[in-house]
Subunit: 154 residues, 2 copies
């Protein structure tokens, strides 16, 4: 588990990455940046820093910060409550993102994007300079995500 100090440091680092890219956050948003280590306590290798802009029953938008080479591990968003599950579009804002969807590799550079259908296995990692990804999606229900690695806790 990450210590509070480790979380605070990652939050501060992610906020600086966003500020450098000219992406403005409110103070409340900065304080609420989610630092996800997926229960593995190896944030530099496996992790994600997340700003949730909006998450209603219909629409969700986030900014995802990936530190250099940081990986978001393979998972899928299963159907729930009569919906097909979360549909998400990843749009690369800065850096390079290597996205794997159902075994296919896709490289996203700034201005490039890809839409991942619901219930489809995917993972992604940043290149050596890190990356910012905007995510546009249906409702996020992170607690329902199914990760391939059974050690992962979301």
């Amino acid at each position: 588990m990450l210590t509070q100090a480790e979380q605070d440091e990652a939050r501060k680092r992610a906020a600086a990455v966003l500020a450098d890219a000219g992406i403005a956050l409110t103070d409340a948003e900065t304080a609420a940046i989610e630092v996800a280590d997926f229960g593995l306590s190896q944030l530099d290798e496996t992790g994600l820093e997340i700003v949730v802009y909006v998450n209603t029953p219909r629409v969700c938008a986030k900014e995802l910060v990936l530190f250099p080479n940081q990986l978001c591990p393979e998972h899928r968003h299963p159907p729930f409550e009569g919906t097909p599950g979360k549909e998400e579009t990843f749009r690369c804002r800065t850096g390079v993102v290597h996205l794997t969807v159902d075994g296919d590799e896709i490289v996203l550079r700034p201005g490039e994007q890809y839409t991942i259908p619901p219930d489809t296995l995917h993972s992604f990692h940043a290149g050596p300079e890190g990356a910012i990804v905007s995510e546009f999606s249906t409702q996020s229900r992170d607690e329902l995500d199914v990760f391939t690695d059974p050690q992962i806790v979301r």
Copy 2:
């Protein structure tokens, strides 16, 4: 009606505004920037420049460019096909946006946002420096929009 030259000039100007803000577009996206004059042929006063990132049956995301003081006139997004109508969140990225929702005035500065419920009258205009607004929403069906001014053609 705007001439092709007027449209091209507005498209070029909007692309420059986005580039200045560090927002990367593909060449295809730049070429496809929508210049909306709402049929009034007074683009400097009433208009909007739009980049549609994604518009699926479930999710839509756009970047809206407003030139200085430019106004998007009052309209609402009515219910359709069993849905309550388009729900949209406007997030100010640069400049200042003056949003009016059901008669209430809201001022958005960079990093600030507001979610407009479906079927709710709203209009917005930029301050004297212009503005960029990210829109996160359910599906866009522009042809269904209901404008208060009967002269408007979308």
